[in-house]
Amino acid sequence: MSSSYDCVIIGAGMSGLAAGIRLAMFDKKVIIVEKHSISGGLNSYYSRGKRKFDVGLHAMTNFVTAQERGKPFNKLIKQLRIPYEDFKLHPQKYSLIKFPEKELRFNNEIQLFIEEINTNFPEETDGFLKLLDFIKTFDEVNLSNQTQMAKPVVKSFINNESLLEMIFTPLLIYGSAWENDMDISQFVIMFKSIYLEGFSRPEGGVRTIINILLKRFEECGGEIKFNCEVTRVNSKNNRIESVEVNSNEIINCQTILSSIGLPETFEIIDNLENSNHKPRVGNLSFCESILMTDLKPKVLGIDATIIFYNNRPKYLYQKPQTFFDSESAVVCMPNNFDHDEFNEGILRITNIANFDLWNKELNLSKQAYKDKKEEVYKQSRLILEKCGLNSSHEVIFKDIFTPTTIKRYTGHQNGVVYGSIDKSRNGTTPINGLYICGTDQGFLGIVGSMLSGISMANLHVLSPQNSGGLS
């Protein structure tokens, strides 16, 4: 490692890799340092036995065809100069929002969702169409947008509480750091990326995305170091000077892009004098059961790609008082995209979970923790049954991860997936030269975090005098 860099990027998740490509592309001397032995962060992979698993990635949002210019995904790959075909995207069949009384289907064409709303809530069709107009003209990526909660705004278009809850369900669980509501810009981002653009899966899953990014980064001459944890960010006169890695080595640098989260970044700044408020750690974490079955979901009665399951009149998107909330879940069937690359059935059931309880249990006894995981698994089977999965199958493999697993592998405090409720939309921090990218800049999910990395690299490293925004 040479002694001084234009930029050190902390974290080789989606945002760090994307930012790295941009900087390396324009001959900045850049190094990505990653605590773990592999890249991906919240969106990574692992193997058990001979089987390969994805951690994040139920589906990629923001599906568009190569011809739909100017859409986030196409902007993103253009900025990284990666051909569209490389991702081998396969669109979803359809997804389902399943409430006790009603169900709404949607796919990658908004027409289906409009029809479903018209059938189930005919009196709300007009309001929904007006909401669509509002969303289409909203400038959600403007970095100077103020935080404002979305539900009150959406209520001015949608009167029916139940429909309101149904519309919000996928958007909250796929992208809100806030409980039960979300910032209006984030709402519009999620609405467009899920309902107007839609879901797809890259062939090969997470590995495909990561390999594309790593290859591109290396082609551009970027440097990456694994098993390399940033333990301190050193500053002088309020301007960053260097980072300390693995508690011993110093890397000097002009700028830092940190993708590890806002509270996590504050935690490692050496002397934070003039900051009077610490960013808050988010509350929302998840557990997930991954099951492999001998028969495929379609044969067993489920042909949806993703089911947003909720067994209450209202959708409770909040930290549960129990280990996990078994009354709501996201159920993902990776087999049910346009192309099925698997030999077995795969079912992923994700529940909102309480980090503190899991953490306490783990510290008390390994066995108690294991027993709790077994309970998650049992409940996931019941949820599958309620979603219509026929019981005539064998589970040939299962794996369960919890909020403590997420914390262990990504370093996110409280095992949060969508970061802090305090975002730094323009990426700045109290220290000059230290910037935030990824989840806590405010754009999240796979596509969002890559866009975040790109725009923060453009804005703060490539053209400090320029606006560099996404519009």
């Binding site: 324009f26 001959d27 190569a66 210019r69 100017g70 196409n74 902007k75 253009k78 900025q79 100069r81 051909p83 569209y84 790109i454 725009s455 453009n458 490539l462 053209s463 005098q465 320029n466 606006s467 560099g468 925004g469 996404l470 519009s471």
Partner: protein
Amino acid sequence: MLTNEEVRSKVLDIIADIALDDDVTTIKDDIALRDQLELDSMDFLDIVMELKKRHKIEVPQEDYSHLASMQSCVDYLAPKFNA
């Protein structure tokens, strides 16, 4: 000494690399690039950075408007290429 035609071709190479999916062979010189290709402000930033990277040409922000069309690019950049 680069001719205007050569300058044009160097700019075109850059645009072709940025707008991977656009057909750059039909670009009309007197029409704004934005109106013919799918280029946004982020892409114009890339043109500026590629000029610097490939040809060591600096374009200050107040001069970005000179990159609007192919003709204005050539008019503005030819003296810089030949400086």
